[in-house]
Symmetry: C2
Subunit: 359 residues, 2 copies
Amino acid sequence: MTTPLAVKIAREYGTPCAVIDMERVERNIARIQAVCDAAGVANRPHIKTHKSPVLARLQIAAGAKGITCQKLGEAEVMANAGIDDILISYNLIGEEKMARLGALQAKANMTVAADNSTVIAGLPQAATASGRPLSVVVECDTGRKRAGVETPAEAIALAREIAASKGLLFAGFMLYPTETGWAEAQKFYDQALAGVRAHGLDAAIVSTGGTPNLKNVGKLKGATEHRPGTYIYNDRMQVAAGVANWDDCALNIYSTVVSRAGPDRGILDAGSKTLTSDTGGLEGHGLILEHPEAKIARFAEEHGFLDLTRSNTRPNVGDVVRIVPNHVCVVVNMMDEVVMVRGEEIVGTLSVAARGKLR
Amino acid sequence: MTTPLAVKIAREYGTPCAVIDMERVERNIARIQAVCDAAGVANRPHIKTHKSPVLARLQIAAGAKGITCQKLGEAEVMANAGIDDILISYNLIGEEKMARLGALQAKANMTVAADNSTVIAGLPQAATASGRPLSVVVECDTGRKRAGVETPAEAIALAREIAASKGLLFAGFMLYPTETGWAEAQKFYDQALAGVRAHGLDAAIVSTGGTPNLKNVGKLKGATEHRPGTYIYNDRMQVAAGVANWDDCALNIYSTVVSRAGPDRGILDAGSKTLTSDTGGLEGHGLILEHPEAKIARFAEEHGFLDLTRSNTRPNVGDVVRIVPNHVCVVVNMMDEVVMVRGEEIVGTLSVAARGKLR
């Protein structure tokens, strides 16, 4: 069973093809902006999900204060498109990156994160090159064991290092609480804030993160902004996290069944080079809307292995199916463009302008 | 500990950065060409690994008969670069793909694979558009349970369908034996060959595949060519398979330690958007040459989580390390360019010209 839109997509673009429904994209943007507004927290969406200046401008037009990027290559694309309030939520190290950051800071208001002295020691090079102060937030680990200082004492020490560094402004704290770790994050933040205030500093920016955390946004007393990324498209992980419904999933991979290879098996033309091997901790590699009981069991690079043993409906070779990915952020990163639709109408293509850049 | 070359790479390009050593690339190309020559089997390298017409031409200059591609987007880039003998080892379905295949066939000698009647029914559209016959091989499943017909009888029936189709030539059989399944593949092939000969057909192309199978190349009596891909760069999987040594691994990801985040932990700037979540069935996500006992335990999109508990040597923040990926084919697919070196000298960048195309 192939939908009329899938027939059109396959005829005009071929498969596999990423298709975004702009009605759902705009609804997701408006819904989450309203959630942040209601919580009294500024929205600073993370563009690592869509990597498109066009969509970033839609988010800002809807009320976002600015954007979040994870690397310089993303921020450069966004700044060149005229976006002027950018947080790079990452430790940036090295002369090459400092030169690029300095050039960015000359054209946009940049804030960067730091969780160690080596990063802080390098940042003045960028500030000096730009000719104006650079805002730096201290990244705090509030339970994820990713980057971030592990104690309020370290956060306070780094805040003082930043404030004492030529051309740097201590701007505040960046946190990424786990979904259940907001009380712990509050305790960490309260101690860190008291500590910096005792040294005559203050936190203008207190940033929390994550689309699954949208159910907690505003819970951190003192938070000034939130960094949700995935909400613009959503995916199986967000539905599993309870922050989106299937109707909120705005991106589908359209894929053709290219072989049946046995009665209980099938092969999709979407493999690990389209859907990626990132399962997001879920069973199977995506939900097939036409065959929800079929399992995308494993991948070759350009083959998706369908297990149809539990599926009452079985696709034919040539059928085009729609897949909701497990983790949409890494899927969008695989392609140079996506196709935009509104309901059943094809609008055209959208460049994933900030992809293909490792750094 | 950062090598002098790593210092130069970080300063000129920044990290994460994919670096290929052209001395190793050329040595790998020559070594595997010699293996195929000695086995009396033509070499038709699969370009899905490097996606570069420059490297494909090096393979042909070294003696390769032609190339293998997995999708039209790859074949279009290669044909536009003047490569004129291309096998697309994949079931191609749909009007959009047939139009593109027809245009390709007008400028290069194309061979495509088919494992079902739906695919065969579509191919005459491409042949007609190109104005000359299109060669089609029947894909046979000899143990991988991927695509491919499951019995010699099906292979024979499809060969006859191809031969009876306007503009199509039955060219032979495409097999991808498992490393231990060559006797099974021989049995399958012998029956299929006898069957087509009984109907006045013959197999001009009998193609086997896989870099791990280079230890078996020539074992299939009647094989005419082999499709190795990964051998040009090699990776942890090929070392584990016993077909490459660490010195044969020509591509490293150079990555900076951006946070230590605790004494037994560290964070690399290479995450799932650089090294991918494809483990290739191995433990950990790559070998760090400077710290072989350190484990890349898991990923965020731009963070590699280092587990240093078993490592006697521990990197400092700012160190640049070299990583041998588990599965190099999917890593190269993440980036628009790689940096070429010769030993300790930087040569320049090489475009991964056929990437970013889903189809």
